[in-house]
């Protein structure tokens, strides 16, 4: 009991330390000073009165949301003597994997787990992934007895059954401005009109003047000097979003957001809990001298082909560039970075790949075996879907319903489940193909899929 208490005290102290440097702290301080003018604040009971004032005026809620936000990326409890690299990534061989091509656990030569020795997939790393019973429990709100947006709002279903009430609750959640409630609510999907605000609430984004000013400064940086990565961004946008039926309209916004993103050093903060480290560059002639090292690009993230597709769907929700930017940045440092860095985190891309393969092999063994035999390892096809969080593969309205659940469950595991569900859906056709190219063709067009029914069928209605 004592240990838990001291752990909790430590966490509280760390979060307080983190928040002390934030805008919110300065605002709370200002508010506290201003409140002294109010008649109900008495000198004798100063502390309680100010606390009461914060509660009534909604500032306590803002503080609550900020704490909740910090907790969502808080690292798991660890040994007090662990060095920082261990905090970023506890497993030794995963740390080493950052520079390795092949990912194998050197201690795992003669696997003691029966199921793992016969794992037919590409990922040969024994990370812990959930099985369907665990997934059913984790995603309990997606079950067949609960209403869902994406299922129960179709034109054949009268809105009185679920949709109207759900919208009403959503409006209430927004008026309460409660992050945690919003996150719980959005597990059943967000109404289109409320989505922008709900995501902002869950990600704890409020457009303060300081934020807008910060964004303007980034824009000035873009105008003042070029970076080599700018060329990568231009090329990426031109190759992906510019050719996309849904997103080509927002080309200019994508440039704006991504060019600013590359120059935003606040993004470096996420490396504290990411297993990756930002690449370093050295001032000319000073190679190896740490005093002359800079992070390059300034935000530590080198964009890759398809990177702009993380931003594109957000353009449907936010037409104001600084808000769009803030939302994207937060989505990146909470979720997207895990999709392109090697770690043992359950939402990391490696775990997602393993989860996908395990689900497929366990519940569709015939299909998995067949595809493997014809040289079409399923992961070769589904990898690109998961790395992009399905952006550019699903219709936008379906994608947004999927990302609702990513936010709601604070996890990317749903991407792996959906990937497996897609294979299950197309299983009959896939059993008939005889080559990788043919398998790719069967799975080339996902734009007509409805994600929620697929997920529900796979998780809750398939006989296991």
């Amino acid at each position: 009991m004592l240990q838990e208490e001291s752990d909790l005290a430590l966490i509280i102290a760390q979060i307080v330390q983190k928040l002390k440097g934030s805008n919110l702290y300065a605002q709370l301080e200002r508010q506290a000073w201003a409140s002294l003018q109010r008649p109900e604040i008495k000198l004798e009971s100063l502390k309680e009165d100010i606390k009461e004032f914060f509660k009534i005026s909604g500032w306590e809620k803002k503080l609550q949301n900020a704490v909740y936000s910090e907790l969502s990326v808080f690292p798991l409890p660890s040994h007090p003597a662990a060095p920082p690299e261990h905090l970023k990534e506890p497993l030794v061989y995963m740390r080493k994997a950052q520079v390795l091509i092949n990912l194998r656990n050197p201690n795992y030569e003669n696997g003691d787990s029966h199921s793992f020795r016969t794992h037919l997939g590409l990922i040969q790393v024994p990370l812990k992934v959930k099985d369907i019973p665990e997934l059913k429990e984790f995603f309990v709100e997606l079950g067949l007895t609960a209403g869902q947006l994406g299922v129960d709002d179709s034109t054949q279903v009268p809105p009185e059954l679920f949709e109207n009430e759900h919208v009403r609750i959503g409006q209430k959640v927004l008026s309460e401005q409660d992050s945690a409630a919003a996150q719980q609510y959005i597990r059943q999907g967000s109404p289109t009109a409320l989505r922008a605000e709900l995501w902002a609430l869950i990600l704890n984004i409020s457009s303060q003047p300081e934020d807008i000013l910060y964004y303007e400064q980034l824009k000035t940086n873009v105008i003042q000097h070029d970076l080599l990565v700018d060329s990568l961004i231009y090329k990426d946008v031109k190759l992906t979003a510019s050719n996309d039926d849904y997103y080509f309209v927002f080309e200019d916004y994508l440039y704006q957001v991504l060019l600013c993103f590359s120059r935003d050093t606040s993004v470096l903060g996420h490396f504290a809990y990411s297993s990756a480290s930002p690449p370093k560059s050295y001032i000319r002639g000073k190679l190896g001298l740490e005093e002359y090292a800079v992070f390059y690009p300034p935000n530590g993230v080198i964009p890759f082909h398809g990177f702009s597709m993380y931003v594109a769907p957000l353009c449907f929700l936010y037409h104001e560039p600084s808000k769009l930017y803030q939302i994207f940045r937060e989505m990146y440092v909470r979720f997207f970075f895990r999709l392109h860095s090697i770690s043992s985190h359950p939402s990391g891309i490696v775990s997602l790949c393993l989860l996908f393969e395990t689900l497929l092999q366990t519940y569709l063994p015939q299909l998995f075996y067949h595809l493997r035999e014809i040289g079409a390892q399923p992961l070769r096809i589904s990898f690109k879907w998961m790395v992009r969080a399905f952006s550019g593969y699903l219709a936008t309205d379906q994608l947004l319903l999927l990302w609702d659940r990513i936010l709601g469950y604070n996890s990317l595991e749903i991407l792996a489940v959906l990937a497996a569900a897609v294979f299950a859906f197309r299983a009959v056709n896939l059993m008939e193909v005889t080559s990788l190219a043919a398998a790719e063709a069967v799975l080339a067009d996902l734009s007509t899929l409805k994600v929620m029914p697929l997920l529900q069928i796979f998780l809750f209605a398939t006989v296991t």
Binding site: T155, P158, P159, P191, T192, A193, R195, A196, S242, N243, D244, D245, Y246, F248, V249, F250, E251, D252, Y253, C315, F316, L317, Y318, H319, T396, D397
Partner: protein, 423 residues
Amino acid sequence: MAGKVKWVTDIEKSVLINNFEKRGWVQVTENEDWNFYWMSVQTIRNVFSVETGYRLSDDQIVNHFPNHYELTRKDLMVKNIKRYRKELEKEGSPLAEKDESGKYLYLDFVPITYMLPADYNLFVEEFRKSPSSTWIMKPCGKAQGKGIFLINKLSQIKKWSRDSKTSSFMTQSTKEAYVISLYINNPLLIGGRKFDLRLYVLVSTYRPLRCYMYKLGFCRFCTVKYTPSTSELDNMFVHLTNVAIQKHGEDYNHIHGGKWAVNNLRLYLESTRGREVTGKLFDEIHWVIVQSLKAVAPVMNNDKHCFECYGYDIIIDDKLKPWLIEVNASPSLTSSTANDRILKYNLINDTLNIAVPNGEIPDCKWNKSPPKEVLGNYEILYDEELAQGDGADRELRSRPGQSLGPRGGRSRDSGRTVLTTWK
């Protein structure tokens, strides 16, 4: 009478021909006995002109109304709408209600327009009221953005009239007739770009009015960022959304062709502006289309051999008000992209399913009431018979700007997919 439908066309487009062939119809020439003729607008002029004395028989159907130009010529469309409004005003209809500044509350959906040279003096008077405004000059009989230009100074028109070699403004020359409209310089921008809406509307009969809206309309985006700055007035890539013009821009993309599905527009507006204003916008768009059809219905030759598929061009301004720019009798059947080809193929397919029931030899005396199942991607936009059958109390209740509950394809009353609930 059993037998295959015999078709003719003078528009050699694959989206048409493939549809005819897939129905097993037989191609013939116009001199033979034909059942279905997909005509160009020149041909329809000849067919129905007084001189030729052409008589269509009961088993012949054509794809244009004889005097479609009452709707599809820019000057006649404006004339008919103005006449319609005056008539409603005279009979004291609440639809013709005006606000304090004299603008129609519900029927102000066409930008101020004058015919040139006839209304030149009226135009000058209006121009002088707001001298900083921009106006757009459009030739009455042309399409695809040909001959269109913008002006913001009276001297520019005088210059044009000199250049086009007309001796003076006073000579009536219908061949070179132009309209000049107030330019909407505050269009709704998405991603910083201007766009307009292309919506397909099928009319099977004008009296009673029965029309269908194709669900898969699209936005046509300009390739260059919009600026109302006067230095860019000559840059057609910024202002004109016609694909024929945009295709020659540097940034034209052959995969999507600058076309964005209307459903995307709906999702974007609902997400960024909310459900009510989005619903209101789409209601208003439907309203505008139906009113324009009602305006020409009295003068339209409601020949029972005819149906017509129009291409409506609509611009939305930054206050989310839709403006009717023009109606095309022969919307382009050329496909600029692969998606486009699929869309136009399905458009013709659904159109034929409604106009030629069961793909059999038509009888123009049929009641033109297709069953719900054949509509495909069409939705009933307005059915005068149905609307009248529901009683007169609907007239006053429903108008744009008043909330009416869920609409736009999710109508709940007796399972009809009717977009409008007003008469």
